[in-house]
């Protein structure tokens, strides 16, 4: 599962997004994005399978973004 995550400079999560149609009707949207506010960073993060069962809101509340070798990953806050 790929998530688009916006964090502040310290890695605190501002928002998490999972792209794609949710309902039965097809939107036709091919892609989307967020224009980051000053001081915010956008990360595209492949979330490990073990986190796949956690709701986005629980991830949001419990995790932060850590940058390792230029790659962002989710770690427990």
């Amino acid at each position: 599962m790929t998530l688009n995550i916006v964090s502040d400079r310290r890695g605190n999560i501002v928002s998490i997004s999972q792209f794609g149609d949710v309902g039965d009707k097809i939107s036709g949207i091919t892609t989307a994005g967020i224009q980051a506010e000053p001081g915010h960073h956008i990360h595209e993060i492949e979330v490990p399978e073990e986190l796949g069962g956690i709701s986005l809101l629980d991830l949001h509340k419990s995790y932060k973004v850590e940058i390792s070798k230029g790659v962002g990953c989710l770690v427990k806050a």
Binding site: V6, I13, V14, S15, I16, S17, Q18, F19, G20, D21, V22, G23, K25, I26, S27, G28, I29, T30, T31, A32, G33, I34, Q35, E37, S55, L56, L57, L59, H60, K61
Partner: protein
């Protein structure tokens, strides 16, 4: 399905913020005003939505009487089928400007942010549209979490013409 609801008055120069409540999600709603008093300009915006823990849904509407006399009006609106796209979270008090991309022009899209988390108001405004050289179309939408907690929401929309 189109509807007209309530008969209200508002003094000259006055602004009121309303909430209209549905017992459950009515589907995407487009809400405006039918002015009754002749010559009175009534401005309106529908800034946001809140889902409550009992499943009821509030649409917020702000009304302003720009005329020089008290004005009478109805609320009027329409609900329709819609698509739902993306699952997103946003911190309390934060605003984000999004773009949603279609491969061509999808028609006039009405887009709103539908909260999943109860008791948090999400405000949104569809600011504009852009067509790119490859024919793709971007719709811009600004989303604000007016609640006290992080909120989860979807985008919901419908091509109306």
């Amino acid at each position: 399905m189109a509807w007209t609801w309530g008969t209200n008055t508002l003094g000259a120069g006055q602004t009121q913020r309303w909430w209209l409540s549905w017992p459950k999600d009515p589907g995407i709603e487009m809400i405006g005003v039918q002015a009754i008093t002749s010559g009175a300009e009534i401005d309106f915006t529908s800034p946001g939505i809140q889902v409550n823990s009992d499943g009821s849904v509030l649409y917020f509407v702000t009304i302003m009487n720009r005329g020089s006399v008290p004005a009478q009006y109805h609320f009027t609106g329409s609900s329709r089928g819609s698509w739902v796209w993306g699952t997103n979270t946003l911190n309390a008090g934060q605003t984000q400007r999004w773009w949603l991309s279609w491969p061509g022009f999808p028609g006039l899209e009405i887009v709103e942010a539908l909260p999943v988390t109860p008791s948090c108001e999400i405000d949104f405004a569809s600011a504009g549209v852009q067509v790119n050289t490859d024919g793709s179309t971007l719709y811009f939408i600004t989303v604000t979490n007016r609640g006290k907690y992080a909120v989860e929401y979807h985008f919901r929309g419908s091509a109306i013409c």
